[in-house]
Amino acid sequence: MPGLEDLYREIILDHYRNPRNRGELPTPPAHRFEGFNPLCGDEILVYVDLEDGVVSDVRIGGQGCSISQSSASMMSAAVKGKTVAEVRDLTTAFKGMMSIHETQLEGTDEEGEPPPDSGSDIALGDLEALRGVVKFPVRIKCATLSWNTLAQGLDELAADEST
């Protein structure tokens, strides 16, 4: 049985207590993406400034639990300065880590190791701290909320631009 410390790593609590990039950005020029978790009612707002395909600034609004808030905070730190393509890769890598792996659910002892098929060589840095979430399946949606919101927003933007 995984314990609370597997879920609430120190770095997560730190991002929860001291959220990075909290706030809003004026829209336009910024884009505002909204996401919510229908299971618990959490809502997240992601504001991004894009300049030449690069995330030049980002802000996080909304409300949520420690996991969704800290994940959003870490995401904001991780994507700032990255190109949209890089953000996409990072999202894929992060969601790969978040997908449920049977063996881990069975409660074996491999907490530290990356799951065999996460496969990507993208460095997740602080985000690795969220790995413990996969042992608490209902919380996975909390951890991925901000990422899904950003990814969907960027997709819609791309779709808009291509039409």
């Binding site: 049985m1 609430y8 609590l13 299971l39 618990c40 996991i67």
Partner: protein, 416 residues
């Protein structure tokens, strides 16, 4: 807490009936505080279903052989028990559905389509469960009904100061007898009388009421009430709609298929008499047996005692939590135990419900974190979610104490 002789229920003995309460989670005894979500089942209910499958199972109403006959009698005797439990005039007034949600959809579709026209007004309240909101919104896609909403006062009671205006000209008044978020008991009779005086049909979502209070449909004054077995010690897969016989009789069928017909020809069908008209297909037979056993179980406890027990526990919870946490805790809903049921939506410091629930789960304390299928109410309250603890017959003061200690621990864990 020491047991005293004059308690409404002997929870210590009663807990023995519930096998799951013997389970440990994370090395702690299970403290189940999510009965508003669904109640646990006593072995009397589980055994009744199991025995039925092992001895008398067959499809109902159609066969002339012994098993089929026993199964039909089991189903109909369960219907009689449920009818009796709520004071229905006749078992024909009890329709078995898959859950309370289907029961309300049945009324909205069958009665609604037959009786509502563009421009008609349906009155709901802001504390409704989605089950009493979304069916009306779906109907509103086809018939342009106008939804009016009864607001709340600051304690989470329905604000009925404008009741007469609200129901004026309404065709339907549909509301919950007890909020699954705030615990508020609503003045069913008063609203029903006002609605009927205004010529409106009255439906009551009794999901949180029937399991916890003596129920007499004649006293409630509604035309329809809906409830689910799984919240009253019964199985999943079955709920009930009670309706006045004359109204049910006049309504067109909802789902079509076997059992609900008297005759079918290539060019049309003749519906069966009540209650079968509204029970298309193979009914939840074993579930009905379990429902009947649940009603027997609760009747043996006595619904007066069940209610008294919950008032006692509610007083204890409100008192001890407030004493311990002062203004660090806010408990939604009426402060007077007589005006509410044992459902406590808590705001504790600035902790998120999910995080509270996670820390509690570590100690095997089960509470619900979320919007409780009442998003309009959440918005009204200005929150995204609440942490909700709720009690039933098997809970006692020690469970409230475990909740209390868990909250303390959560506070420490997230302190900053």
């Amino acid at each position: 807490m020491a047991m005293t002789r004059d308690r409404a229920l002997d929870t210590t003995r009663l807990r023995q009936d519930f096998p799951i309460l013997g389970r440990e989670v994370n090395g702690h005894r299970l403290v189940y505080l999510d009965s508003a979500g669904s109640a646990q089942k006593p072995r009397q209910v589980l055994d009744a279903m199991d025995d039925f499958y092992r001895r008398s199972y067959a499809n109902v109403h159609r066969g002339a052989y012994t098993l089929a006959n026993e199964a039909s009698e089991a189903l109909e005797s369960a219907r009689e028990k449920v009818a009796h439990f709520i004071g229905a005039g006749s078992p024909n007034e009890v329709i078995f559905t898959k859950n309370a949600t289907e029961a309300m959809n049945l009324v909205v579709n069958s009665w609604g389509r037959a009786n509502l026209r563009d421009g008609d007004v349906v009155v709901l309240t802001v504390l409704e469960h989605h089950a009493n909101i979304v069916p009306w919104q779906i109907l509103a896609d086809q018939i342009e009904i106008e939804l009016r909403w009864v607001p709340l006062d600051h304690q989470g009671h329905l604000d009925l100061t404008a009741l007469d205006e609200l129901v004026d000209g309404a065709k339907v008044v549909s509301f919950s007898a007890m909020s699954n978020v705030l615990g508020t008991l609503t003045p069913v009779r008063r609203i029903a009388d006002a609605a009927r005086a205004a010529g409106a049909m009255v439906m009551v979502d009794a999901c949180q009421f029937v399991p916890h209070n003596p129920t007499d449909v004649a006293e409630l004054g509604a035309d329809f009430i809906a409830f689910s077995a799984h919240k009253m010690c019964g199985p999943t897969g079955i709920g009930a709609l009670w309706g006045r016989e004359a109204m049910l009789d006049a309504m067109p069928p909802f789902l079509g298929g076997g059992s609900m017909i008297s005759d079918v020809r290539l060019d049309g069908f003749t519906p069966a008499p009540l209650p079968h008209k509204f029970e298309a297909g193979t009914p939840p037979i074993a579930e009905a047996v379990g429902f009947g056993a649940a009603v027997d179980y609760l009747s043996a406890l006595g619904m007066d005692s069940v209610r008294r027990h919950e008032v006692e526990l509610t007083s204890y919870a409100l008192r001890t939590l407030t004493e311990r946490f002062g203004d660090q805790i806010a408990i939604s809903g009426p402060s007077e135990p007589a005006e509410r049921g044992g459902v406590f939506s808590l705001a504790y410091r600035d902790l998120h419900p999910h995080d509270i629930s996670q820390v509690l789960d570590e100690r095997a304390v089960c509470i619900r974190a979320g919007h409780h299928c009442a998003k309009p109410l959440m918005r009204y309250m200005g929150v995204g979610a609440t942490a909700r603890a709720s009690v039933y017959v098997y809970n006692d003061e020690s469970d409230i104490d475990a909740l209390s200690e868990g909250l303390e621990a959560a506070g420490e864990f997230f302190a900053f």
